[in-house]
């Protein structure tokens, strides 16, 4: 019995004559059309993400109240901490941009199917690390802000004193702890949801195909 695929092969090569035929001009015009490949989408989204997080970390410094608060809490002479942490932040951004750019450049359509998928996934992973880093920093800063509120801020310290006198200290800590946790949870949930949405749409097929390729591979 003839193999099914061989049967198909015979017909496939016969059918090649019926394929559409584009003229030189038709093909030539296509060279200038815009690509809608996922690599392009990933690139745009990565840039948006980087810009978003950079803006998020810079923005507070332009608020007067934040600046005043900063001076209040640390005193104008103790800016070294702020300068140091800002420099660290900038360094991290530069390193991420460098790695992202390198990974992006390594995406090549001339590679084999598996390698191409891997380089796309690697590019995504770098942005994911960057987002995780930012989330981690955001949580850290939130916690640190609360700590300074209770050790440096006069109003909060007064509040704490009155709570202590009332004897409802435990309840106060429980409630404020819950508020902080809920805030952090909310922030993480929003960002997680955003990721599921964007990359669910964009990369679902790629992940599926990659798994399919890897299956049986030892």
């Amino acid at each position: 019995m003839l193999d099914e695929l061989d049967l198909l092969k015979k017909d496939w090569q016969r059918k090649a004559e019926n394929l559409p035929k584009l003229s030189f001009d038709e093909i030539y015009r296509m060279l200038w059309k815009k690509s809608s490949s996922i690599v392009k989408w990933i690139c745009y989204i990565s840039i948006i993400e980087l810009v978003f997080w950079i803006v998020m970390s810079i923005l507070p410094f332009f608020w007067n109240s934040f600046q005043e608060k900063l001076d209040d809490t640390y005193g104008s002479g103790e800016d070294t901490f702020v300068i140091f942490s800002s420099a660290f932040g900038v360094a991290v951004v530069i390193i991420f941009i460098f790695y992202l750019f390198r990974a992006y450049k390594s995406i090549s359509t001339v590679d084999n199917v598996k390698k191409l998928m891997e380089s796309i996934l690697r590019t995504r992973r770098i942005v994911r690390y960057y987002v995780i880093y930012n989330l981690f920093m955001a949580v850290l800063i939130t916690l640190y802000t609360f700590y300074t509120l209770f050790t440096h801020d006069d109003k909060t310290m007064q509040l704490l004193e009155s709570v202590k006198e009332n004897g409802s200290e435990l309840r106060f800590w429980l409630i404020s702890g819950l508020i902080v946790l809920a805030g952090i949870g909310f922030m993480v949930a929003i960002i997680w949801l955003f990721y599921r949405l964007v990359y669910g749409i964009l990369l679902k097929r790629l992940y599926q195909n990659y798994k399919e390729l890897e299956r049986l591979e030892v």
Binding site: A16, I27, K33, Q208
Partner: protein, 183 residues
């Protein structure tokens, strides 16, 4: 950085590139025109209507053109085309049209299965084409390369998997097709 075309920094180089570009364009389009069957075949397998076919053809053309400056000619133009075309169809191209249409194919398959069909060659081929269209992106690529008379060495090289894996996958596809043909 989203634009992959390279622009040289000095003015003298830019004019030089432009004059070369015209030749390059002409050379590229001529080569593609002569080998366009490969792209059309990929489009036939991976899309289900004329609009999508044209759309994918265009995307493959763009990707080929972007990669063309790096094409050294140490492999055949057609071999190089297979890679870029498949990569575009499997990984880079994204259009949601396909998911709506696959349902059509499924219903057609079930209909034919329910009827008592005539096991003539013509009928078998029709069923086979439909069955192949239903396969996943990777399986389709394997079938495509097989139909194009590529050996397992070339197939495994193009997909980036081992030859053993390519053979195992192909056997599975054959079994899948067999069950569709002989329910």
């Amino acid at each position: 950085m989203c634009n992959e075309t390279e622009i040289s920094s000095t003015n003298t180089k830019v004019t030089y590139h432009f004059s070369v570009n015209k030749d390059l364009e002409h050379q590229f389009v001529t080569e593609l025109e002569n080998n366009q069957n490969i792209v059309h075949k990929v489009c036939t397998l991976y899309t289900n209507n004329r609009d999508a076919h044209k759309d994918l053809f265009q995307e493959i053309t763009i990707q080929l053109w972007k990669a063309y400056p790096k094409f050294r000619g140490d492999s055949k133009f057609s071999t190089w085309m297979y890679r870029v075309a498949l990569n575009t169809a499997i990984t880079l191209y994204r259009k949601s049209k396909r998911s709506i249409r696959t349902q059509d194919y499924e219903s057609v398959i079930f209909k034919i299965k329910a009827e008592e069909y005539d096991p003539t060659e013509e009928e078998q081929l029709k069923l086979l084409y439909k069955a192949v269209k239903q396969l996943g992106d990777i399986d389709k690529a394997l079938v495509f390369l097989y139909l194009e008379d590529k050996n397992y060495d070339e197939i495994s090289d193009m997909l980036g998997i081992s030859e053993v894996n390519a053979r195992v996958k192909m056997n599975r596809i054959k079994n899948k097709l067999r069950t569709i043909l002989n329910p």
